[in-house]
Structure formats: C-alpha cells, structure tokens
Amino acid sequence: MTILAASDIGISFGGIKAIDGVSFNVRPGRILSIIGPNGAGKTTLFNIVSGVYECDQGRVELSGENVTGLTPDKLAARGLSRTFQNLQIFQRMTAAENVMVGRHLRERCNLLADMFRLPSVTRQNSETRGAALALLDDVGLRGSADVVAGSLSYGACKRLEIARALAAEPRVLLLDEPAAGCNAVETEEIDELIRRVAAKGIAVVLVEHDMKLVMKISDHILVLNRGKPIAEGLPREVRDNPAVLEAYLGKHGAREAARA
C-alpha cells in the first residue's frame, strides 16, 4: 500500500528544467532516500511534494488522493510534514513552543476563546505542552525545553525541527539533510531516531549526503542527477551502479573506483 506517490514530476525555473520526469513512492513504515550530487534537485523535489513550489507537470498523491498544487498547510492537514535543509526554526520562541506550534493542527484554535483565555484554552495548553515535552525527550532536548531556540546549537536545531514535524503526528515525513553538520555521535542519534519514526508506521523520505547513514538506513534509494532520475533500487544495487558512481565522481573517478 503506497501512502505517498509522486509521478512524472517536472518544474522549470526560467528555461532550466530543475526537475524532469521524477517519480517515486513510499509505503508506511518504510524509508526512501533521495540522493544525488549538489544541485541535483533533491530539495526542489521536496519543495514540490510539500507544496512550497507548484510543479509544471506531474502528480502527487497522498493516500490515493490527488494533492498536486495544494498549499503546505493543506498538505499538513492531510498528514504530510517536513524539515528544512537550511534551518527554519522559530528563533524567538523556546524549544517547547516550537514543538507546540507543530501541534497546531491537533489543537482547537478559536480567536475569541484565546483572547479571553477560557479555561478550555488553558487546559489545552498544558496538554499541548505535555506532548511537546515528550517529543523533546524523544530527540534528546528535554533539558533545553525553555531555552530560546535561536540560541541552540545547529545539531540541536536539526533535532528540534524533527520534533516539531513529528508533533503534527504525520503519516509521511520528509527529512531534508537531518544529519548535515552533525558529528558521528549525533548522526548515530539521528539514525536511531529515524528508525524509531519508521517503526511507528510513518513513511520517511530522506534527503541526505551522509552515504554511510543512507546505505544503512534506507529501504529504497532514488538517485537524481541534474533533475533526472538516474538509478533506483535497494542500497546495494545503487551502490554498485556505474551511472551513480559517474554522477558523483565523474567519468575518470568512476573508472578509478571500479579498479579499486
């Protein structure tokens, strides 16, 4: 059963085809990695699937429904959540508040009730905060709950983004380079975290440059180069694919690698 399916996605920026004919699908509880050299179009693909960009061609389906062109907030309401390669943290809010925003869709939000702070609002607030603290605990940030997010380290912000994305209780989670800038220990933590997420039945789509992590964790890998799919399959199939080696290392490098 596929939960997220993208077919024949294409988008151009001023005559340049940034993405051309890319398709993929993910099932609940599975991890799909999208890899490729810098500028291959991985983040652009994420932006299309999460509704930040509108694609010129192709179709995105979420649980069998056509969701092409829906805005990010509508997609979020249908169970799609994501993190960002360049951090998009709410800097002036505390870590706990960041995650509480992630629960926006799970909260009743009524302007008048909020203005006059009806008892139901206070009650809901403590529920939301409780859920946020549990998620912070999951990503190892429980101790920083009341720290302003802008003063957290890069690695902590990466994990905070994951906690915020999970707060919406998504069915599909897109992670854009969650291990970027992380040291070996932090990467290990991210690895475990992603596995736990998938174990809950959430479909994970991962963009990542850390090949060790990708090879270890992925159920399926899609390789892009210059906006086009060049290979896909199981981690070991992709690793030995000459087209992939060439995309990463160039023709000469690929020959060297084959000899080694």
Partner: protein
C-alpha cells in the same frame, strides 16, 4: 507553565496598582489628563504591537483606524442621533471590517511594500475625513457629544482617568492572554518563518488578517475613547504623523512586549510635556532621545532592561 500564568497576573496586578496609586501623587487635574492620554495611547500601541511585534507585519496607517473610531463617536450622535457608546461599537465594527477587506490583498505584501500599502490606507482615511466636511467638519474638526451611560453623563478628567485606566487593563489582559495560545503562537511562528509555519499547518494569510483586524479594533476603540475624553476631534488624529507616533511607541518600548508598549506610550506622551521647559528645542530633543535610545536599546526599552536585570541577577 505555572510561571507563565504567574507572570501574566503579576503584570496585571502591577499595572492595576500603578493606575490606582498614581492619582495619590497628582497635584492637579492636568496630570489626570496627561495620564489618561498615556493610557489611551498605550491601549492603541498594545494592539499595534500584536500586529507588529507578534505577527511581524508593519502598519504605517494605523492612525486611519484611530480616526475612524474617533469620528464615529463624533458623527454617530451628531448626524444619526445614536448613543455615543453605540457609535463606539459601530466605529470599531467599521474599522474591523475595513481592516478585513483591505487586509486580504495587502497582507500578501511583505516588508517595505506592506508599509507603503498601509501608509496609503491611512492617507486615504485621513483624506476622506478632511474633505467630507459636511459630515466631519473638515480640517477644523468637530465637537463630540458627552458620553452618557445609563443616564450618567461622563465628564471630568478624573473620571476619564479611571475609564481609560480600566480600558488599558482590559487591553493588556487580552494581549497577555493571546501570547501563549494557539493563536498567539501562530502569530509568532509566522513572524519567524512563514514557510515553517505553513508546513506546521498554519493558514498564514488567515492569521495575518486576524492580527491586522485585532490591531485595527484596538486603534478604533482608543480613537473613540480619546475623542469622548477630549470632547473634540480633528483630522490630525487620523494623519500620517500620528501613525508614525504609534509605531514609534511600539518600537521604542519593545516589539513583542506588552509592557513595552505601555512604557513606549508613556515616554512619547510625557517627554514632550517635560521638555516644554526647553521651549523651541523640544522637538529637537525628543528626536535626539529617540535616536539615542534606538542606538543603545535596539530591542526597545523593556526587553533591553529586563535582559540587563536578568544578567545582574545571575552575577
């Protein structure tokens, strides 16, 4: 969480004590008038701060809504025989509806473009007020009928002091309430990152519009109150300079700080009164003080001071 709730009521109690205690040291009714003016301006600034400080959207035309509120309580009773309090409510409704209708297209703009668009809105309102002299008395302004509540004619600067003080407490309470609710968090989230807010499921356009309407309603009620208090109104209240003054109160006091808006209003209203001893240098000094405080307290008076205090408490 308990701390947060505590903080909210601490601020309210402190403010109530200040409002209640100030008259004890007032030597003349002139002081009641100045303080009332501070409370009313602070009320408007708090509303604008929800838009600017929380939701991060600028408005350079907010005096337009202030003017609509002010002229509503002047025109309503004079031309339509409405009770003054009803005119206040209608003025607030007109401001809110106008903010809703105009906000839809212009809140798609960002930064400088939004500033210019809101400026245009303010100028437009001021222009209508100045030119429709049959209704508004034109540039000369018009008198405002006394407020009558259940047969009680409200007058006297001390009475208005208590009314405006009560209003300020109400406005402060609502603004503090909002901060830590789904709505308030949505405002602050879209301020920091619109794209992340949208991905979290926040309908950014809707919340920007809500903040704009709230700020417009605050300004309108402040305008009505000032007009009733003064018993007279002129188009300057809706003019561009007044819009800038409101923005200055918010920024000087501290973006996003409710207490800051009250302090900002207090500084901007009382400073000119204090500086009158310098006569013709008054405006020069006022401008100088604002420039200097922006250089040394870019985050505004209240956030800067509270950070200093926190640091001192640590050492």
């Amino acid at each position: 969480m308990l701390q947060k709730i505590g903080h909210r009521y601490l601020v309210l109690i402190a403010l109530a004590v200040i409002v209640a205690a100030l008259p004890l040291i007032f030597p003349s009714s002139y002081y009641f008038r100045v303080a009332s003016l501070v409370w009313v301006s602070a009320f408007a600034a708090i509303g604008l701060n929800i838009l600017m400080g929380s939701a991060g959207q600028v408005s350079l035309g907010h005096a337009g809504f202030f003017g609509i509120g002010a002229y509503a309580v002047a025109i309503g009773p004079a031309h339509f025989g409405l009770p003054t309090w009803a005119a206040l409510v209608i003025g607030c409704a007109i401001s809110s509806v106008l903010a809703y209708l105009v906000g839809r297209p212009i809140l798609k703009l960002k930064g400088h473009y939004l500033a210019i668009a809101t400026l245009g809105l303010g100028v437009l309102v001021a222009l209508v007020i100045t030119t429709e002299s049959r209704w508004t008395g034109g540039p000369d302004g018009m008198p405002v009928a006394k407020l009558t509540l259940l047969g009680w004619r409200v007058s006297g600067s001390d009475t208005w002091y208590w009314i405006s003080g009560g209003l300020l407490l109400l406005g402060t309470w609502i603004a503090l309430n909002l901060n830590d609710t789904p709505t308030g968090r949505a405002f602050r989230a879209l301020h920091d990152s619109e794209v992340a807010a949208r991905v979290a499921g926040i309908d950014v356009a809707r919340f920007k519009l809500q903040a704009f309407v709230i700020a417009a309603a605050y300004a309108s009620i402040a305008g009505s109150t000032l007009a009733m208090m003064n018993g007279f109104i002129n188009p300057d209240q809706a003019g561009f300079l007044h819009s800038v003054e409101m923005v200055t109160m918010v920024v000087l006091g501290g973006l996003g700080s409710v207490v800051g808006s009250i302090v900002g209003a207090a500084v901007l209203i009382t400073l000119p009164q204090l500086l009158t001893v310098f006569q013709e240098y008054e405006h020069l000094l006022l401008g100088f003080i604002i420039i200097v405080s922006m250089i040394f307290m870019r985050d505004g008076i209240v956030p800067t001071l509270s950070r200093l205090l926190a640091r001192r408490a640590q050492t």
